[in-house]
Every structure is written in structure tokens, then in C-alpha cells.
Symmetry: C2
């Protein structure tokens, strides 16, 4: 098995799983309970929140643990919007569905939303961003690193523009586990992260929420997470998530170098062996773990199926939309021509990816593409 779909799910790191273990059976108390077992859970939770705050360089009370990236993003965007009750939101047309669909819902509720165009690399222009602010703008939300094409936005610059306009700035950092997550340096007010993309567990994430920001909760109840997210705290998953975050951030320099090498092997290997294809996303400002390539006159689905038969697992566009036949909204936003867009494959790699796996990919894939293209021509002629 050669797994090249790390952007949609990552295997749990064995060290992370070990970290979760004690909280399943031993320290299983409810952090809200008044006895020793509850207190042990509460102390563990406090320590985990403190560790997370160290990684993000913020205060522990600015961390809200959630059930994952989608909840964090919804909490940030709905939470700010519903607090203000009305107003204008700025985002981009190349965001994850969690941002886009939340914004569409807010439009149905009477908010107005600007979906900024992106350039051909999928990047948000600071100039266009600057021009989008209005008197009634309450929130801006731009993705840190694109989940489909890997392009990294200039979050620091965008956040400083938003601050200049006195408007809150949120970034979806769910794909940015390897990047700089120093909240002060980035200058963001809200930042969403999740566990499942960094070899941590699924079903857990966090929202960094600057302490002087308003926020209306999504979930009401027992008042956990400082009243901002009710529901019994999921200690095993939080422990795993925090461990994964610490490990990822501690090893990032080294891992980035390793992944960059793999990335450049894939890119040059494919571009040199397969005619009529193009790399999507920014040539330099991109995640080291992502290669998105559009093959002209190929249907991504067919290529995925053929690679699957060889035990090579890749995605078309993002996982969430990968079953849909129409080209992804991100490729559309980047104005990738249709004959390329429909043949787009995302290779995303990570901790468990080896150079050998990439060699196999580069050996196996080009002939498959050749055959698929030939069949395509035969079918066309036959018609």
C-alpha cells in the first residue's frame, strides 16, 4: 500500500496512541466531577491546555478544544457573526467547504459575504483583500494553506490588514500543522486546527480565540471550555491531539526538508515523464506535503481507480468533494481549464511516506496515463 492522501486523513502515530491510552481506562473521570478521579482528569486537561498554549504562544484560556476542524471553523465564523447579529464577512473562493458552506448559511440568515477571487496559484491578493473592507465588515477568514493545491497565503500580511481595519481575522489552519503557528507573530484573532491531519486522532480540534474577542457559543450546556463549548471534555482525544501537535511542531524543520525532497522528486518526475500536464498551486509558497497535478484529457476518477488497483491511494481535489464529478471549486477559482481540471490528482504525503514509494509511483503511473489517454481517443473516434 502506498498511501498518498495524507491531506484527507493520516494514520495515528503510535506514540500519540500511547499518550491517549491512560485516559481511556485509568484517568477516565469527568473533569467536572468533585472527587480525585475528576480532579486527576481536570489536572491533566489543564496541563494539556498549557502545553497547547506553549505551542501556539498564547494563554491557556484562549484555547477551545472542539470535535475537529469543521466545528472549530463553524464556531469561529458563526460564533463571531451571531455575536454581531448582522454585518459583512470577507473570505476567499478557495476556502475549505467548512468555511464556504458556513458563509452561505450566514448569507441565508441575512449576513453579506464577499468571496474574494484568487490568483492562478490559488492565492489571495493582499491588495484585493484590502479593498474588500466595508464599514460593516465584522470578520475576515482566509485559509492558511489550501487543502487541495497546497498554496500558502500570506497570513501575517492579511491579518495585519484586517487589524488595520479593526476587523477580526480568522484563519483555517487545518492543513498548516507544519507551518508557523505562533499566534502572536501571525497576528490572527482566531485560528482553527485539527488532529486528524497531523497523525493525531480524528474527532478533535481546537479554536484559538484571542481573549478579548467576542464569541457566541454553538453548543450550550454544562459550560465547559470556559462557557464557550459545552460538552464533557474528550480527554483521551485531546491528549492525543496535543501530543501530535507538539511532535509535529518540534520536528517540523527536519520533516519539511524531507518532504520538500519528496515533493520535488514527484513534481520533476511527473512533469518529465508525462506530457500535457501542469502543476497546480504556487511554485514556491506551497505546503511541502502537497503536489496537485492536472493531466489533460484524463478523468481523475479513472486514474484513481487504476492506481488503486496497484495499491496506490491518491485523491482528486479534496477528500470531502472527491466523489463529486464536477471540478473542484478551488480549481474553478484558479481558472484551471476544464480539460485539465477534470484530470486533477492530489498527491499528499507525510510522516510515513518514503522515497521508495515515490519511485514506485513514478514507475507505475506514466504507462497507466498513456493507456487511459489512448482509450480516450479510441472512445472519441468510435463516437
Amino acid at each position: 500500500m502506498i498511501y498518498l492522501d495524507h491531506a484527507s486523513a493520516t494514520p495515528l502515530d503510535p506514540g500519540v496512541q500511547e499518550e491517549m491510552q491512560p485516559y481511556f481506562i485509568k484517568v477516565f473521570g469527568n473533569p467536572g466531577s468533585p472527587h480525585r478521579l475528576g480532579l486527576d482528569a481536570k489536572n491533566a486537561l489543564d496541563a494539556l491546555r498549557q502545553s497547547t498554549a506553549s505551542v501556539l504562544s498564547c494563554h491557556p484560556e484562549e484555547i477551545i478544544f472542539t470535535s475537529g476542524g469543521t466545528e472549530s471553523i463553524n464556531l469561529a465564523i458563526q460564533g463571531i457573526a451571531h455575536w454581531f447579529k448582522r454585518g459583512h464577512i470577507i473570505t476567499s473562493s478557495a476556502e475549505h467547504e467548512a468555511v464556504l458552506e458556513t458563509c452561505r448559511q450566514l448569507e441565508r440568515e441575512g449576513f453579506s459575504v464577499t468571496y474574494l477571487e484568487v490568483d492562478r496559484y490559488g492565492m489571495v491578493s493582499p491588495l484585493l483583500f484590502e479593498r474588500a473592507f466595508r464599514q460593516d465588515t465584522i470578520l475576515s477568514s482566509i485559509i492558511y494553506a489550501n487543502n487541495e493545491v497546497g498554496t500558502i497565503n500570506s497570513i501575517q500580511e492579511l491579518a495585519s490588514i484586517a487589524r488595520h481595519h479593526n476587523v477580526l481575522f480568522h484563519t483555517d489552519a487545518c492543513q498548516a500543522g507544519l507551518l508557523d503557528l505562533h499566534t502572536g507573530r501571525l497576528g490572527v484573532d482566531l485560528l482553527s486546527l485539527n488532529g486528524s491531519k497531523i497523525n493525531g486522532p480524528k474527532g478533535v480540534g481546537l479554536l484559538y480565540h484571542r481573549s478579548d474577542c467576542p464569541l457566541q457559543p454553538l453548543l450550550f450546556g454544562g459550560g465547559q471550555e470556559n462557557g464557550k463549548r459545552s460538552g464533557t471534555e474528550n480527554l483521551p482525544l485531546i491528549a492525543g491531539f496535543v501530543k501530535a501537535l507538539e511532535v509535529t511542531q518540534a520536528e517540523k524543520e527536519e520533516e519539511m526538508q524531507r518532504l520538500k525532497k519528496i515533493q520535488s522528486t514527484i513534481i520533476s518526475g511527473i512533469l518529465s515523464r508525462v506530457p500535457n500536464c501542469q502543476l497546480n498551486g504556487h511554485p514556491t509558497q506551497r505546503l511541502p506535503s502537497n503536489v496537485s497535478i492536472s493531466f489533460r484529457d484524463i478523468e481523475a476518477e479513472q486514474l484513481i481507480e487504476e492506481l488503486d488497483k496497484q495499491g496506490i491511494y491518491v485523491a482528486a481535489g479534496s477528500a470531502c468533494t472527491s466523489k463529486s464529478l464536477e471540478p473542484s471549486h478551488v480549481l474553478k477559482a484558479m481558472k484551471v481549464p476544464l480539460e485539465y481540471a477534470q484530470g486533477t490528482i492530489r498527491f499528499s504525503f507525510g510522516k510515513t511516506t518514503s522515497e521508495e514509494e515515490i519511485e514506485t509511483l513514478l514507475r507505475v503511473m506514466p504507462p497507466i496515463i498513456e493507456v487511459l489517454r489512448k482509450n480516450q481517443i479510441i472512445i472519441s473516434n468510435h463516437r
Copy 2:
């Protein structure tokens, strides 16, 4: 350690943990991914949904997996309310905070809410329920089994009254894992359940949502769970939760008998050995796993602390509010006199509780109470 706080958290069943294991490292794919690993995850999820539907006697598409009881309840109540946009909601004054706080939020948004009084056992009267319906009532929500005092409401009767009025009926069944969960027989439109109270994992739950009910999602994004709850499906936790649900329901008759015996030992043991105390909740219509007793002239906190020193872990009121000094809203709703209410202890037991543990409790606790009461008198006299 004698753990008598199963109503706030339960240890993970080792069999349940085993069930989760393969989904952490082997079948870790995103069910939305188009390759074999994604398909394996999707097939596993489909099978788990089918098993759950069998337990609840409903259609698989009527199951929405969530991050826990609080999310399920919020999704049910906010989801119906926001779909209708305005109207009146009926609930009781002895609900869990997740219901009460969600209703209070909806009041702030312009909905009107009736909080029905309960009788001295904490039970909702079908007659009062019947009288509460108005022309604009859109939803009713009554707890199945009370988390503090264990009283079981007549859900079947209440649901049929709601149906008679053409009003949707939701029940918070988070404490009702051992009770009848046949949705057709109960006649409910929505039912919330969670994993952490049935020796399953924390951070996972479900909302049963009858297929012809409306619902506005809380979380927007990739459109998972039939568009009703976006966010990557948390397969390991869902697998554990479903296993726990199946085991609990399969063993319920036997386990109920075992727990009833423990329950009657605790009740008769305490009432016969400790003067000036009373059992809270219904004498017969109650969870077999709960004993709530109010000790006059005792501060629950002090008693909890003394029992804690002996390695006996109990709660005061529900876990979520147990740190607060004022008597719980449930005891208030039941009109338990203050001098009793402030000395209320909840003993909740489960799968791992043995008769021997109860013997120890009954030996250790009465002298502690005697000492605490004596000290109380000395302090009072000194003042």
C-alpha cells in the same frame, strides 16, 4: 478505589476499546476518499450505522453521529427551532443543562419556552404536559431518565400527546442506555444518546432523527451525515460507541437485575443506618443505576471530600454542576427543602460495581456522617 459516579463518566469497556483499535492505525482512511482505504472506512461506517439502526429499530439514514450528548441535544433543539425560525417550545425544569441552556439561548433569540414544573419525584406530569401546548408550539423535549435523581419519565405517553398535537418530540436519552430504545415503540421524533455513559468512548454520540422531520444543521461543511452534520466521520469512536450500545442493550435485562439488587442494598443500607435522610426521585420508576440521597445538616462537599479520602468517589448533583455550591436546579424543581438539598449525594453505579464495594460504602459512610454532623453542631454552638 470505589467508583460510584458512573452517571458522569464510565470506564471504557476493554471489549469496546478492542473494537476501536483497527480504525486508529489500519482502517484510518477518510470515508469520503475515493480509494480502497476510503472505501473500507465508508463500508465500515455504513455497517456501523446499520447496526445502530437495528438497536434503535429505525432506518440507518435516521442516525446522525455527533461528538456527544451535548451536541446531539443542541442539534435536535436548535436544529428544529432554527428550521421553524420562531415559535414555542415545551420542556421541563428538571432537564440536563444541555437542554435548559439551549432553550435559554433560544429565548434570547426570540423563541418562547415553557419550563414545566415536575412533581416531588422529578417526574413530568402528562396532564401538565398536555395543557402546555399552544397554537405556535413547534417542539417538546423531555428527559428520558433524569441524570441527577434517576427518575424515568413516561416517554411513550408524552410522545403520544405531542403527536396528538402534531408537535415534534425529542427526548434526551443520555442516561437511558439500559432502557427501551425502540424508537417506534417510544414514538419519539428525535432522541439523543452518547457513548461516555455506557462504557463507550467520550466524544461521540448520536441523534436519532425521524426521516420526515425537518432539521437545520449546526455544523456546515463537507456535507457528511447526509448533510446534517459536517465534519470527517470519527470512525474509531463511532465503532466503540456502537459496540458499547450493542453490548449494553443486549445485556440490559441481566444487568438491570444485578443493578437493582445493588440499588436496593444501598437504599435500605443507608436509610436504616443514617437518621435524617431521604431518597430522592421516584420510588419505582427510576434507573437501577442511581441512588440520590439527601442528608439533613450535611454539606455534600464535605461528605464527598471525606469519602474521597477513603477512596470512595461519589457526586453531588450532576457532574457538570457539582462544583457549584447552590443546590441543583433538579432538586429545586422537586422542592427538596434546602437543609436536605445541600447535603445531596448521587451514588451512580454500573458495570464495574460489585456488592463488596457497596458493603464497604455502607460500613465507611455512616460514621463519617455522624462526625460531620457533630462538627456542624460544635461550629453552630461556637458561633
